[in-house]
Amino acid sequence: MAELLAQHVSVYYGTNRVLEDVCLDIDERTVTALIGPSGCGKSTFLRLFNRMNDFIPDFRLEGEILIHDANIYAPDADVEELRKQVGMVFQQPNPFPKSVYDNVTYGLVLQGERTKAVLDAAVEKALRQAALWDEVKDHLHKSALALSGGQQQRLCIARALAIAPHTLLMDEPASALDPIATAKIEELVQELKKDYTILIVTHNMQQAKRVSDKTAFFNFGRLIEYGDTPAFFEQPQQEQTRNYLNGHFG
């Protein structure tokens, strides 16, 4: 069953067309990598699923984005509820300038959760899921800004997971991190896919190969090819895909 569905989606910023007629279906509890050269529209496509593009002036969508068969751009759609179901991790780690504990509980506090026992349990669960618990369990009330880059990013993942979304959107989550931190994030994605549907934008083809079940290649706003990752990398069907994978352009 398709969890996320894009049907003939085109995106415009004013008169500038950024995505053209994209059709993509994503199954639950899979990891899908979105790859392509800079400016190809993969980040824009990612942000369609939690309506973060709404903040960009002159944003216009044609086509439909369905999550669990519901059109999330319907006029009566509840945007805040959508964002609680579809979480996001950004390229640059962006923890709040508060304690580790307050970062993770923020989403729950927004929803009115006040009980300390509930919050404590949620914090431990989220930090364990993000493979950060052991490193911070004795420092929960220290500032999040004191953590290393890799730890901050895992904190952002924990923060997103704390409100139990069904999908996680990751926009080049490891591109600002060193190789060791990157490896930790990739390991994490493999673990998380047991419980969450994950869409990950990456500049790094090898990362896509390592981490994803399916890969989608975008170029100049069009979806060029989409398939199971092993086959996609072994035998790309489209010439553009072959050229990109062989490094003829970046």
Binding site: E80, L82, K84, F90
Partner: protein
Amino acid sequence: MRSAARNRLVDRAFRWVGLLATLVSLLLLALFLADILHAGVGRLSWAFLRGLPSRFPERAGIYAALLGTVWIGAITALVAVPVGLAAAVYLEEYGAKSRWAALVEINISNLAGVPSIIYGLLGLEVFVRFWHLGASVLAAGCTLALLILPILIVTTREALKAVPHTLREASYALGATRWQTTWHQVLPAASGGILTGLILALARAVGETAPLVVIGVLAYVPFAPAGPLDEFSALPVQIFNWIARPQKAFGADAAAAIIVLLIITFGLNGGAIYLRQRWRQRLP
């Protein structure tokens, strides 16, 4: 002269010119301070601070004026902060980049430049007469609040602008509404800058004389205000009044009062600068 050598000469020359310009300004300030201290430090004493105005310069004190200034400062802050904060938050977080918003922005900057005596006239008509507040601390506080509102809105907006957009994004991505994001993330992150702007604006307000004179703030008030609707005095007006007196001895009183006002102003400004330093270090 070859061009390279001339460039070097101009460079060296400006270094001296700049240094001279800075020193001249500092020198004038230092001379002023020295003069005031010389004239007034002899009159500074607990008796002076606790005393009330008098016909006799040796017995005059600034107790009523000092308390009046404190009252005004408090009321100005109480009135200006909620209005200024709400306006700045609205303009920065909710206002679209429309032409209307640009118009409002230009007008706020214009208001910041309006001479303070005009605010005094406004305060006289609206607060003293129309609202029947009389020449009270409340009327003065409201008037000065209006005076500093434009500056407050501008500095608060600057503080809000300095909060990185990534912070707001992170909050929205967790399902927060615009208000929740503003309340839980943006305002706390901007609080240092907002406070700094507020203290600087207040420091200006307590030193304003023209609006208070227009409102009818008295300089011979032999009692301290007990409530916001009482008539009162204030430091700048007291200074003004003493300087206007023919007896030269009042000059010493005025100088002493100026020293007190300077201590308050420097204290507030110094506090604002210290806060700004600490705040700069804390933002990511």
